[in-house]
Amino acid sequence: MVGILILLVVNSCSYLPEEVDWINGVQVDERSNYISLKPTTGTRFKTGLLFYPGGLVDPHAYIPSLQGLAVEGYTIVILKVSANLAITNRNKAASYKVHFPEVEQWVLAGHSLGGVVSCMDIYDNPSEYVGAILMASYNDGSADLSDWDGAVLSLFGSEDRLATVESIRANEDLLPRGINIERLVDMPTSPTGGQTIYHQIDGGNHAQFGSYGAQSEDGTASITRAAQQTAIVNYIRSFFNANDWS
């Protein structure tokens, strides 16, 4: 029994978030089940983003990566999950949509394990979401989305040693057909439903999709965290624009 307890303790430590450099224009509302980010002024778009954190990462660690989208008008909802493991709260995202009646359509996103659970949720309820964003993540085979008509964006880092480029490529068959883009200007200008846009962030690693310090067994990034997170926001914005999601 004590052995089980020690194993649990060793394997259930989460990564604390680093300090958030807040940008002006973000309204934060924290609840037991989620953290929502909305613009304080200006237009509020009718598209929202629900986000599952990576495994054993505190949800606050994703505020710096996503607040840039909130300022522009998108409602961002970072879900809190039991034990900081999204797999324990499969389909939680759908149940919190009703808390944001002003949002008419949702994109489901996740980092690492959160991305895997996003695919599972979409597989269970494909009509609940118009799109998906996988950050350093891939569909692991438990949910085949190859026939899904939603739009998918897959962002990954070249220096990621946890969700490696090889593992993402090996699981492409489980997502809608893929298009690789190297530069922001290569993003399609028309809706990408039924397609997966892949972009490798050169120099990026696994942990810099959030802000929680270095992650065990990850590669060393050759770009700064700020640069990687700027790229994330730029590609998501461009993906939203391509699909006319505002």
Binding site: L5, S12, E30, R31, N33, A83
Partner: protein
């Protein structure tokens, strides 16, 4: 290694020669959150389990043990200390109320954060004719992680814990003071 054996031996000696009834119980836990420091809000705060040693003292039992649980700031490990007081016994049944205090750690890689809590849980036990008993309890608990204010807005929660478990007597002083 030798000192480790001596400690284990002493522990067994104390347990086997103790004239008071002693029990060990394992209880899976479930926590229904009803409020936080931000206000009333229902949230399922996850599960956990408690391993508790109990010894008869005066009319009730002194409780001590370890607990692992999920909570809104992640996972935590706590050390519990408290007292269980019976208020009704009949045949194989025993009704009691436990008051416990907890101190421990919220589990994070960079640094663990101090947590503390208090709880009051009414419980019902059913004792078999052998050395086992089953228990169920439903109560209220306050938990606080003061240092988490540097990371998030929710630093304390009020839960309604549900405890369902099994226990057994460590010596043959069973039922002296159930």
């Amino acid at each position: 290694m030798k000192s480790y054996r001596i400690v284990i031996g002493l522990l067994f000696f104390v347990l086997s020669t103790n004239t008071k009834a002693q029990q060990l119980s394992l209880k899976p836990l479930s926590f229904l959150g009803v409020a936080t420091n931000l206000g009333g809000e229902y949230a399922y705060n996850g599960g956990g389990f408690e391993l508790a040693y109990q010894q008869d003292v005066w009319k009730g039992r002194v409780l001590g043990g370890l607990e692992y649980r999920m909570v809104t700031w992640g996972n935590e490990l706590g050390i519990n200390l408290g007292y269980n007081m019976p208020f009704w016994t009949k045949g194989q049944w025993r009704a009691s109320v436990s008051a416990q205090a907890q101190i421990g750690w919220a589990l994070f890689y960079q640094k663990s954060l101090l947590i503390w809590g208090i709880e009051c849980v009414p419980e019902i036990e059913w004792h078999s004719n052998k050395a086992f008993f089953a228990t169920i309890g439903f109560g209220i608990r306050y938990s606080n992680c003061p240092a988490y204010e540097n990371y998030g807005a929710i630093t304390s929660v009020i839960d309604l814990p549900i405890k369902i478990g099994l226990g057994f007597y460590l010596n043959n002083k069973k039922r002296q003071n159930r």
